[in-house]
Symmetry: C2
Subunit: 230 residues, 2 copies
Amino acid sequence: IIEIKNLSKVYDVTEEIKVHALRDVDVDVYKSEFISIMGPSGSGKSTFMNVLGFLDTPTIGTYILDGFASRDLSDDQKAEIRNLKIGFVFQGFNLLARTTALENVEIPLFYRGGYNMKHAQQKAMEMLDLVGLADRAHHTPAELSGGQQQRVAIARALVNDPAIILADEPTGNLDTKTTNDILNLFSDLNNNIGITILIVTHEPDVADFTKRKIIFRDGRVVEDSSIKKR
Amino acid sequence: IIEIKNLSKVYDVTEEIKVHALRDVDVDVYKSEFISIMGPSGSGKSTFMNVLGFLDTPTIGTYILDGFASRDLSDDQKAEIRNLKIGFVFQGFNLLARTTALENVEIPLFYRGGYNMKHAQQKAMEMLDLVGLADRAHHTPAELSGGQQQRVAIARALVNDPAIILADEPTGNLDTKTTNDILNLFSDLNNNIGITILIVTHEPDVADFTKRKIIFRDGRVVEDSSIKKR
Ligand SMILES: Nc1ncnc2c1ncn2[C@@H]1O[C@H](COP(=O)(O)OP(=O)(O)OP(=O)(O)O)[C@@H](O)[C@H]1O
Ligand SMILES: Nc1ncnc2c1ncn2[C@@H]1O[C@H](COP(=O)(O)OP(=O)(O)OP(=O)(O)O)[C@@H](O)[C@H]1O
Ligand SMILES: [Mg+2]
Ligand SMILES: [Mg+2]
């Protein structure tokens, strides 16, 4: 479902200074895989996720999702694929500040179209309930704890029934019990509905929930192995 | 150095809905303590830290830092105490978006006054070097990874040589090695300079670096015990 070849991403910070955030990355992902992405701070994990999520374009190399090549798509086409196929949990949550938790979760549904207001509200409340935040539906992000904001971001990523979930540190701000609830939720979605899931994490305990580990270092993939114990 | 009695914090979300973020909290902290603050998502940890940092006021009860009572201080006086005595690492980093890492770290020095520009830049570079980011000094937050932004926030908290460090999940976005570097840094500051440190964390491994554990649940302190093994 995901094909990545020779992927490199270079940022030009100034005329002379370039940051090679990704270098010559090759990764193939099949449908219904459950993968953890690990590696030191600054090693390229979020940049990799941004390319996968069509939020950033390769400098060199190819990225193909479900037959759609990142290079060939217009910005509108990328936005449409993101909305229809991908649920993204950002490292910094990226919620809209002046909108409530419920409204934040509803937004992907309105972009999709074909939903009426009542339907969207119902679906969004379901997702909030799934992450344990039904009683915080009308709070804005500033009125939510860090972990609650993170859970709203997770609910928003799930609301469009995506084929792929890209989650960048989805449990970094959550206590052990809530982390396990979220990871069990992801496991269920993976096992029962076959959703393909990639999770960036620093924590080995979180990686143990997944079935394959890809480790980055200085923009390169240095390890790509299946996790046996599960 | 910190005296908290009967502390309660209530948010009025609407006319009828109130959130009791903190309920009747009593805590005494002596100089040079090294404390971890733990508890489930939404249990009141960040609210507690905001009161300690003079960023929020008690609804009921008292908070006294070094003889200064939160209730008696004007906003300007609170800002001054914060600048002189407290280094705050926010759960969401709270860096200024259009300013570089170096400038972000310099800012508390300019508020303090008595620094010239050259001096401030030198001190700020020292702090960036301490957290391993000397080579990212001229990047803005958007050009930094999540963990790098977090480390800039830590450098900024240290730059004014504070008497107290309040760190809300300071290593949540950091890999194991970088987390240990930061925690060792905090340990050194605590052991060698006697800085009082409170760290909010979800991770038992992080708590093991500290000497006392305070656990919150639903806005109350449910446990307050010293950590024996260190
Ligand atoms: N401005 C606000 N208005 C209303 N409710 C609020 C506000 N800020 C926080 N809350 C609520 O107060 C409670 C405590 O929030 P707090 O941020 O202190 O939790 P926390 O322990 O830091 O959680 P986390 O581990 O998720 O960061 C939460 O239930 C939250 O929804
Ligand atoms: N817009 C940008 N301009 C310049 N450099 C950037 C930009 N975005 C990221 N970088 C750099 O690219 C490298 C990789 O960043 P990335 O965010 O992918 O790391 P990461 O593995 O997600 O790290 P973390 O675990 O800290 O979140 C970092 O060294 C960072 O400084
Ligand atoms: Mg990242
Ligand atoms: Mg918090």
